[in-house]
């Protein structure tokens, strides 16, 4: 017989605990029987575990609700504890803003209501508390509309409960439900529509007006719920096991649910300037992010038989599983393929996963998690899922030129990694037509970058072999060669060749960095000048470290000082980067790694990297390769990591200071107490009490005080470092935006004039595709997939502008939290009135700031 634990855990699953059969009634009966038997012995364990399961397996919550309803008939006290504990958890979650927990607990309460464990009116009271808090937040006078994200979240939570209990609520207390619905409608009328600008996966550059027509996510859910209501609250995706036990459950005692309180929005500023509003809105959206943005990559025919509300519920299931079962590969895949719904949903599942992989600004987990999930689902559903994934890839590929730049990068990384797990098999001949496109065409760049990443994950010959059915694509493979060392033979400059040989033998002879520096200063620089010296040293050291990542690190660790000596300033560091880039011109990866390491050893500043990336020869490559963007991304990322580490250290040190203060104060109090006692011995200051103890107390007080002081000192020094890092960050972003502004200025004017992008030149084909709205898959089948691509007519300059603006937006969005503190200065110095409106638009939409009309 299976234990109560595994019966609770596996309820609703096709598992050995339940003889491999799914029958909700049998499952509930068996589980109820086992739990009831054990309830007296292990009440606390059962309570904890049951709550854990209800929270972490929310797709099974109707089963848990029914089980608890049945237990309520046997042991009211036990269920009372469940309700009380849930009330406390919900309050904690509201206080800390734990979105997933709030949502899941509300759903749990809804199913408890269905099983008569709490009163329908108690649930409505909770809804109304959230609703009134939401209404206050968006109120201009009493609240703080910049925090609408939180209000929207509360409303979404209330609406999300209705698929699980709408029918029961309406049946029992129709007026109260109506009151809630009216309240939500009123809320919808005062809130601002949320614009997706800056966060949509497909940049619909041609349709600025479209935003005003479309529903945002709250309105969308509202209309789904209204449909549900019109359909008498019937839906297929939520099991209603409590109906099987209706006759019994009705006898259960409903428990009181204590009141909950939503925190007041504390930081209500008197008057919000545009920037302050934007800053707070950014903060609110970070704390209460939108959970999903639907992708709609498949034709409607794949999912149209699923009702809108069922689609919503399945998405909720999938997102919950992805969240709670992160890190449990087997369970995660099993739950995803085994949802309790009576229809097929593999297309919906693929769309949901891709919507997470591409979610902006950040997915809840690293993209590699979704890579793993997709791999596991391909293995779990070998007959169905791989084809769906391939369909998604084709659909996304067809619209790649509309895809957000960051999403393109994520897609390239995912796809190459995915293929590397499936022997690099892909029907490349379908995409052979990209060779006819100009080298800046997004589809062509996509294929080229995927192949480059494949080579990095594998090796050149292997990837070449994988495209052997379409040999022409070889043209897009990265170069095969290794490093490009200029002193391999003495054909070139004899002097430099000889110097390189000499340096090489010094390194082999284990000369120290100091010896090398002396040699350079005394006999190389004075004769050959700095440029030659730099070239010889960098080329030679890179050659010595060219064999592997570890070799590189070893060289840099030993002879980094030599490089630092000859590259002390920005100008020489830029020469250094150029030298690295030319030495590793055949390998984008090694170039990026080498520059990254050099930045790590502080041989190169992030400012030098930015400046180099924007040097004239590099600018011309912006639209044809990811090479430079990768280097720029790394530099920003490394800077960001450093500052995040400092933040963490400071926050830990602050805690330590508080702790040290407490300990020191206690020691002091103890000492004072003991000293005070001494004074009272017959009015004479006799050293009466144990002198050993006194001595110990005294030294303890001193020591703890010293600890406190030293902790505070290390906090201060970290804070000083942090202040400097902030300054460096400001300089970095100023420089980055200035460079962007400069390079874009002329080209934007040349290409677009003063126009915004309402009607970009030559984008007619993409427009036509958007307007007829034909799903990509259908197009492919009917017309053959080359039709659309023939229409790629974007000129080089325009594509350059589009790509570069895309990166402006992507960087602004990704580092918005770091950029906001410096926004005033950026506005003042970079985003002035003279900049091109399209550049401004890219920055603002990345920061989710309203563009001035």
């Amino acid at each position: 017989m299976s234990s109560w634990r595994s019966l609770i855990l596996r309820i609703g699953e096709k598992s050995p605990e339940y003889s491999g059969v799914i029958d909700f009634k049998d499952h509930i009966d068996a589980c109820f029987g086992a739990v009831r038997r054990e309830l007296d012995h292990s009440e606390d364990d059962i309570l904890t575990f049951l709550l854990q399961c209800s929270e972490q397996l929310p797709h099974k919550v109707p089963l848990y609700g029914t089980l608890i309803g049945l237990l309520n008939l046997e042991n009211e006290d036990f269920v009372k504890k469940i309700v009380e504990s849930t009330q406390k958890s919900l309050q904690d979650a509201l206080d800390s803003g734990d979105c997933n927990r709030i949502r899941v607990l509300l759903r749990f309460l809804t199913v408890l209501m269905c099983s008569k464990v709490i009163q329908p009116s108690s649930l409505v009271v909770i809804f109304e508390t959230l609703l009134s808090s939401a209404a206050t937040i968006v109120d201009d006078e009493k609240g703080n509309p910049s925090w609408q994200a939180r209000a929207d979240f509360y409303i979404t939570c209330v609406l999300s409960c209705l698929p699980w209990g709408g029918s029961e609520l309406v049946e029992q207390i129709p007026e109260e439900v109506e009151r809630v619905m009216v309240g939500i409608e009123a809320y919808l009328s005062i809130r601002r529509k949320v614009s997706d600008v800056g966060l949509s996966v497909f940049e619909e550059i041609n349709k600025i007006d479209k935003l005003h027509v479309e529903q945002d996510f709250v309105e969308d859910l509202w209309s789904r719920i209204q449909d549900l209501s019109k359909n008498s609250w019937k839906l297929e995706s939520v099991p209603r096991p409590h109906l099987l036990y209706e006759a019994q459950l009705v006898a259960g005692k409903s428990h009181d649910f204590g009141p909950i309180i939503c925190q007041e929005q504390s930081d209500t500023p008197v008057e919000l300037s545009r920037l302050n509003f934007g800053r707070q809105k950014h903060e609110a959206e970070l704390k209460y992010p939108q959970r999903i943005r639907r992708l709609n990559i498949f034709s409607a025919s794949k999912t149209e038989d699923i009702q809108p509300i069922d689609r919503f519920v399945v998405e909720e299931y999938l997102l919950d599983v992805l969240f709670y079962l992160n890190g449990c590969r087997k369970e995660c895949a099993a739950c995803m393929v085994g949802l309790p719904v009576p229809f097929r949903y593999e297309y919906l599942m693929a769309e949901t996963i891709f919507s997470q992989l591409l979610l902006l600004p950040q997915p809840p987990f690293k993209p590699i998690y979704y890579t793993l999930v997709i791999i596991d689902l391909c293995k779990s559903l070998p007959g169905a899922f791989p084809a769906v994934v391939a369909g998604a890839v084709r659909a996304l590929f067809d619209r790649i030129s509309e895809l957000d730049m960051e999403c393109r990068t994520r897609l390239i990384l995912w796809f190459s990694h995915h293929l590397s797990n499936f022997q690099f098999i892909w029907p490349w001949d379908e995409w052979a037509h990209v060779l006819e496109l100009p080298k800046w065409a997004p589809q062509r760049v996509f294929v080229q970058e995927v192949l480059d990443r494949e080579v990095r994950l594998s090796y050149w010959d292997k990837v070449k072999q994988s495209i052997e059915s379409t040999p022409a694509l070889e043209e897009l493979l990265p170069p095969k060669g290794g490093p490009d060392f200029i002193y391999t033979s003495d054909d070139g400059d004899k002097t430099e060749y000889t110097l390189s040989k000499e340096l090489n033998s010094m390194v082999k002879g284990r000369k120290t960095a100091r010896d090398v520096i002396i040699w350079l200063e005394e006999s190389v620089i004075p004769i050959n000048g700095l440029d030659v010296t730099l070239r010889v040293v960098v080329q030679t050291l890179l050659d010595i470290g060219s064999k592997s990542f570890t070799h590189l690190i070893t060289v840099l660790e030993r002879y980094g000082q030599v490089i630092a000596k000859i590259c002390p300033n920005e100008e020489t560091q830029i020469m250094l980067i150029s030298e690295v880039s030319s030495f590793w011109k055949n390998s984008a990866q090694t170039t990026a790694i080498t520059i990254d390491r050099m930045m790590g050893y502080r041989l190169i500043s992030n400012l030098a990297i930015v400046k180099w990336v924007f040097s004239p020869t590099n600018i011309d490559l912006f639209h044809t390769t990811d090479r430079l963007w990768e280097i720029l991304r790394n530099a920003l990322n490394k800077t960001y990591n450093r500052i995040s580490d400092l933040r963490k250290e400071i926050s830990n040190l602050k805690k330590s200071v508080v702790k040290a203060e407490k300990i020191a104060a206690m020691a002091k109090a103890e000492l004072d107490g003991a000293e005070a006692k001494l004074m009272l011995v017959d009015g004479e200051p006799v050293v009466g009490e144990n002198p050993v103890r006194m001595k110990r107390l005294k030294s303890n007080a001193e020591r703890t005080k010293e600890d406190e002081v030293s902790t505070r000192e290390s906090l201060e020094s970290k804070e000083a470092l942090f202040a400097r890092a902030l300054e460096e960050n400001e300089a970095l972003f100023l420089s980055l935006y200035k460079h962007f502004s400069t390079v874009l200025m002329e080209r934007l004017h040349e290409t677009f004039g003063e126009k915004t992008m309402d009607h970009p030149v030559g984008d007619s084909e993409a427009m036509a595709v958007d307007e007829d709205d034909t799903p990509a898959m259908e197009m492919d089948k009917e017309n053959g997939n080359s039709k659309r691509n023939v229409g790629y007519t974007i000129g080089e300059k325009e594509q350059w502008c589009l790509s570069t603006l895309g990166y402006v937006k992507a960087f602004s969005r990704q580092y918005a939290s770091e950029i906001w503190p410096h926004m005033d200065r950026l506005e003042e110095e970079v985003l002035t009135e003279t900049i091109h409106p399209l550049f401004r638009k890219a920055v603002y939409s990345g920061l989710r700031l309203q563009v001035d009309q």
Binding site: Q52, R329, I368, C378, I425, H551, N641, R642
Partner: protein
Amino acid sequence: MALLFKDPNKISAYRDRRFPGTQEEYEHALQTSTTVYIGNMSFYTTEEQLYELFSRAGEIKKIVMGLDKNTKTPCGFCFVMYYSREDTEDAVKYISGTILDDRPIRVDFDWGFQDGRQWGRGRSGGQVRDEYRTDYDPDILLSMKGGYGKLVQKELEEQRQVVDYGVGSLGSFQPTHMPHNYGRHGGGGGHGYGGSHRHGRGDYHRKRYREDDRDRRGPDNSKRNSEDEPRRNSDHDSRQEKNPRFRERGDSDEEEDDRKRQK
């Protein structure tokens, strides 16, 4: 998250017998470590491939290839060190069991790299464990083209060269990862080893070295002589004898069992 299906205390099925501390200390080391051990790799897999794959879990600090002590060439395992614990956990969660160079690699927390652990044991051969491939059927992605012959793949594989860490212009630059207290290793025996562990753990895990990477290694490191090597190898050989991680591939079924247990 996902506490239901995981015993957080059972972080690794292994108990590395070379670990000098108690079981408790061992578990603590695993729970705070920022190093992962990667096993079942192809001998041909390069550091750059590892870098590409593992940097998708986070910024990498170092990679140490496991080398055959006789040939100085990779022998199927390595260590990857991250800066942050979170990234380390993600590498274990998301990369273990996925494919690199046609092989399902295994990724585990490691208690912290120490010098000497990069040396595998000498006998070679037997690198292919084809039984793994069956549950990663490559043909399920698409039913097309009839697939590629395994023969061609093997040929390709054989054309690749393994990185030789022992010869060439970098002869003197073997990837040495010497702890600061290298000198203590030989003489102190078991006792000294414990001491060095404590030192190592503090050093490797307490904080990240982004800021001061440059200063990490004292000048002593570069003084390493190739004469040190034989002594050092034999020194560590005896310790590695009982370490399951350095066991020759294919000479027991234990590895397979472990893999199953972890799944």
